[in-house]
């Protein structure tokens, strides 16, 4: 599973594909104060990114992939 949902934390790993976006959105809508762990994520489809940008969860860990982290920070840091 590219996204593992634990209590109040969504852990992303590897490549998160477009199919995950809907479930992620639902989960984030239910867990308003959730946080997201991106440490092991190597790429995520922009649909997921849009969900994250809209839902503004707490990012508990940025991706280890520095390139991806830089991109994501530009999109998510404002929150």
């Amino acid at each position: 599973m590219p996204i593992e949902y634990k209590n109040n934390l969504a852990v992303f790993s590897d490549v998160v594909s477009v199919e995950e976006a809907e479930a992620l959105l639902e989960w984030l809508q239910k867990n308003a104060s959730a946080s997201v762990d991106l440490l092991a994520c190597t790429h995520l489809h922009p649909a997921n990114l849009q969900v994250l940008m809209a839902a503004e969860p707490v990012i508990s860990a940025w991706p280890a992939d520095t390139g991806l982290a830089a991109w994501l920070r530009s999109a998510l840091k404002a929150m």
């Binding site: 959105l25 849009q50 809209a54 991109w71 994501l72």
Partner: protein
């Protein structure tokens, strides 16, 4: 280049030509629906064809053209000269692409921008407008937009949100740029529905070549988790890249309309950023530094900067500016203006205005009028003239206000683009007046004034520019929207021509006659020697004959090449046939085609079609087992059907082999016996190999159930007849449980037949060399009689003998030679050999076989006749029918 592409190019040229013609005809006759439909069809087909290949640039333009034509066809857009111009331009562009494909095999990515621009310009016209004036307005406005864009593009570097990029990255980019790399800022705005097309724009952006930095922004603020649609892309991607422009073009070639690439001047990256810390307070350093700079003491300046930098907190605006100052000093020590600007910026903590510092960049001076290139100035004048035309066109009152507004906005755009801001208030006043009174006169008056001014300016300009233009070999004109392929240009000759089959046939016939009359020369030589006794002349004629012979043969070969076709012509229908048929039968079959490029005469290829379909169907129906049966017998579930074409000397061999269940000779024998094809004796006697070949016997079909695919009794015998009609042969090999292989052997060409001439009872006959096995002379004593028929033994084999005189009902015995030997022509008849008793053998000749016609057509003993070099007629025997 593959044949498909070749054909596409040749067709594309035809279509382009056709489109051009139709457009021109339409200009004279705009209301002609038939012409319009035809034009649409051309564009439509061309677009469809281009879609087969990876030419997104071409398809995009054609698609836009198609949409436009469709709108015109349905009366949504009226046909106009401007519209035709744009379409012609686009078609020129397509032609240009065709040339490039022909030369390089592909299209350079550099055309993507042109393609997007053309497509957009075509689509612009697809608006519901009803008067030609409106179309003209759209055309003018877009012309203006391009003009404005070229100017805007140059200043854009300043307005980019470069400051968002972390300083270290910017410094890095600056270092790259100083080493000669081109810096580009990319704005990539993917289409909203792109997720549904399986795109991942983020991935695309992340992998941009030469990427230094990337950022993502949204197009609109997020609605608070209300009902955000995750699958509608609202992200924009921004990338700073050091890759060359061509590489970027190539990378984004499928989406040129979604990507904006803006060159970034290196210095514009030098934007100090950080905490202001209470405002400007560094006056002392600034004046000191400017003093040092003025005296040219760069070392001192650098030392001072370093000291101040060490003393300041690194996150201050000041520190950032100092770091930039040091970096610029290090990399561009000559650019003292830049140092100055950076130092002065410390006074107000406002980033330096780099644009004012870069004399190299055009469009920055305060008098932009003079920066217009001659071509641009011309375009501007043309634009004004167009606007004037629009205003003078008769118009309905309800359109008047809209027209005035359109023209006014176009004109104000013109002024802005050309930098002539001073004239703006005058225009606004004129517009207001025109709108108030709903007449176009005030604008017209203003325009006339502006035009006069321009003309004066233009004459002045041309005088100054002319000298300039000589050195500058006006590459500007090339870069404009025209693609320089008008009628005056050299037409790139197309490499292939379409020729009527009749013309080729005529050539064939002519070369045939030529071969025949060439054959008359040896007779002439013979006569010169024997009748006139001039040996010398005879030899010369023979020498000349050798030359003509060589040329004629080459010519014949060349003409034959013309009518040659690759077997792929028949092969191409098989993938579909096999797929459909095997699916219907519930079988799994993998088709392998080999040697599709093998060529043969068109007639042969065409005659191959039906037999091959028959064989393939048979193979699918009877040959292959169902997957479960195959698995049970240890074969892979998917069967393989191979169709292979090869050339063997002057014949084409086509092999169709399958790995199915093969043919059981016992079953065949039994069936053949039941159907009365063979008698009981033969049942015992014939070999397995012979038995499997019984499937070619007429009226033979083994399958128990007649399916709708094959097995209706018209089976392999049809194949055999069809193949034999073109002088081909069929052979079948089969191993039970392993598969079947059918081999068709066909002549390369039917035009010329090589025959051996034999003599009997003073007459000459031709025998096709294909069926001649050997010629022997056998002593009369070696000929025996068994049960009323003559036989002889050749190399241990019994060969039945027939007298040609008997067969043709000539009442004369065969004549033996001086040694009492009889001439025997051994011919092949199916798998057997038969000896024909003749009087004498003569030479072999190439002849053009003409089938017998009229009442003679009933004479089945002859396959046709041919004209000999000496004018006599040679009858060609048909061995099969004769025996």
């Amino acid at each position: 280049m593959n044949p498909l592409l070749e054909q596409f190019l040749s067709e594309a040229r035809d279509f382009l030509q056709g489109i051009g013609e139709k457009l021109m005809q339409l200009e004279n006759n705009p209301g002609n629906a038939e012409l319009m439909t035809e034009l649409f069809r051309f564009v439509h087909t061309l677009k469809g064809n281009s879609g087969l290949f990876e030419f997104p640039e071409m398809t995009r333009v054609l698609h836009a053209g198609e949409d436009l034509m469709d709108a015109v066809r349905h009366g949504q857009v009226e046909f106009s000269k401007e519209l035709a111009d744009r379409l012609l331009d686009s078609m020129d562009f397509v032609g240009l692409l065709c040339d490039e494909i022909e030369a390089n095999g592909n299209i350079g990515a550099a055309h993507a921008a042109d393609s997007a621009r053309l497509a957009a310009s075509l689509r612009q016209l697809i608006v519901k407008v009803e008067s030609p004036a409106a179309v003209a307005a759209v055309v003018a406005a877009s012309l203006l937009a391009t003009l404005a864009e070229t100017h805007a593009g140059q200043g854009e570097g300043e307005r980019l949100p470069l400051v968002k990029i972390p300083e270290t990255v910017r410094m890095d980019a600056y270092r790259h740029a100083c080493k000669g790399a081109a810096l580009h800022w990319l704005d990539y705005a993917p289409a909203e529905e792109c997720f549904f097309q399986g795109d991942d724009p983020f991935f695309q952006a992340r992998n941009t070549p030469g990427i230094l930095w990337g950022g993502i922004t949204t197009r609109q603020p997020w609605p608070k988790l209300a009902e955000p649609d995750a699958y509608r892309c609202v992200l924009d991607f921004h990338v700073l890249s050091t890759a060359p422009r061509e590489e970027l073009d190539e990378y984004y070639r499928y989406m040129p309309d979604q990507v904006r690439m803006i060159p970034v001047p290196p210095l514009s990256l030098a934007l100090p950023d950080g905490k202001h810390n209470g405002g400007p307070m560094y006056e002392e350093f600034v004046s000191n530094a400017i003093g040092l700079l003025g005296k040219g003491r760069l070392e001192g300046l650098s030392r001072a900067a370093r000291t101040l930098l060490d003393l300041s907190r690194p996150d201050l605006w000041l520190s950032s500016a100092l770091r930039w100052l040091l970096l610029v000093m290090e990399l561009e020590p000559e650019n003292q203006d830049a140092f100055g600007a950076l130092i002065k910026s410390l006074r107000h903590l406002i980033p330096p205005q780099w644009a004012e510092l870069q004399p190299g960049l055009p469009g920055k001076t305060l008098e932009p009028e003079s920066t217009l290139t001659p071509a641009e100035a011309e375009a501007l004048t043309a634009l004004l003239a167009v606007q004037r035309n629009i205003l003078t066109l008769p118009i309905e009152a309800s359109w008047q206000l809209g027209r005035i507004k359109a023209v006014a906005s176009a004109l104000s755009g013109c002024l802005k683009a050309s930098g002539n801001l001073a004239a703006l208030p005058g225009l606004e006043a004129a517009t207001a007046m025109a709108l108030n009174e709903a007449v176009s006169t005030p604008l017209l008056v203003w325009l006339d004034g502006a035009l006069q001014e321009r003309q004066q300016a233009a004459t002045a300009e041309t005088q100054t520019v002319q000298a300039d233009a000589i050195t500058r070999t006006s590459p500007n004109t090339e870069g404009q929207s025209k693609f320089g392929r008008r009628s005056e240009d050299v037409v790139a000759g197309s490499k292939s021509i379409k020729v009527d089959q009749v013309k080729i046939d005529r050539l064939m016939n002519l070369i045939g006659e030529m071969v025949v009359s060439k054959n008359a020369l040896p007779y002439l030589a013979g006569r010169a020697e024997t009748v006139f006794g001039v040996r010398e002349l005879s030899r010369e004629i023979k020498a000349q004959y050798a030359v003509i012979n060589r040329i004629a043969e080459e010519m014949q070969d060349a003409i034959m090449q013309v009518s040659m076709m690759p077997v792929s012509f028949v092969f191409q229908r098989f993938p579909r046939l096999v797929r459909d048929t095997s699916r219907k039968l519930g079988k799994e079959v993998n088709l392998v085609l080999e040697g599709e490029e093998t060529e043969a005469d068109k007639n042969i290829i065409e005659s191959l079609g039906d037999p091959l379909v028959h064989i393939v169907r048979n193979s699918l129906d009877h040959g292959f087992e169902l997957p479960e049966v195959r698995l049970a017998s240890g074969k892979p579930a998917v069967g393989t059907l191979t169709i292979r074409a090869t050339q063997e000397s002057d014949r084409v061999v086509i092999e169709i082999s399958d790995d199915g269940k093969g043919i059981d000779p016992k079953v065949i024998k039994q069936k053949a016996y039941e159907k009365g094809i063979i008698d009981e004796a033969a049942l015992e006697r014939i070999s397995d190999q012979e038995a499997v070949n019984l499937v070619f016997a007429s009226g033979f079909s083994t399958v128990e159930v007649v399916s709708d695919l094959s097995g209706r009794g018209v089976g392999m015998d049809v194949v055999k007849t069809a193949v034999e009609r073109v002088n081909g042969t069929v052979a079948l090999e089969s191993a039970k449980g392993k598969g079947t292989r059918i081999r068709l052997s066909l002549p390369l060409s039917m035009a010329v037949t090589n025959v051996m001439i034999v003599e009997s009872d003073g007459q000459v006959f031709g025998m096709p060399m294909d069926s001649v096995v050997e010629t022997v002379r056998v002593p009369r004593s070696a000929i025996r009689t068994i049960k009323n028929s003559l036989v002889t033994v050749l190399r241990g084999c019994i060969v039945p003998l027939k007298s040609i005189n008997t067969l043709l009902e000539i009442d004369a015995p065969p004549i033996a030679n001086a040694e009492d030997e009889l001439a025997i022509l051994v011919v092949r008849l199916g798998d057997e050999s038969v000896g024909l008793l003749v009087d004498d053998f003569r030479e072999t000749v190439d002849i053009i076989l003409k089938p017998l016609s009229g009442v003679l057509a009933g004479l089945s003993a002859y396959s046709g006749s041919a004209l000999m070099g000496d004018g006599s007629v040679l009858m060609i025997l048909n061995v099969k029918e004769m025996l």
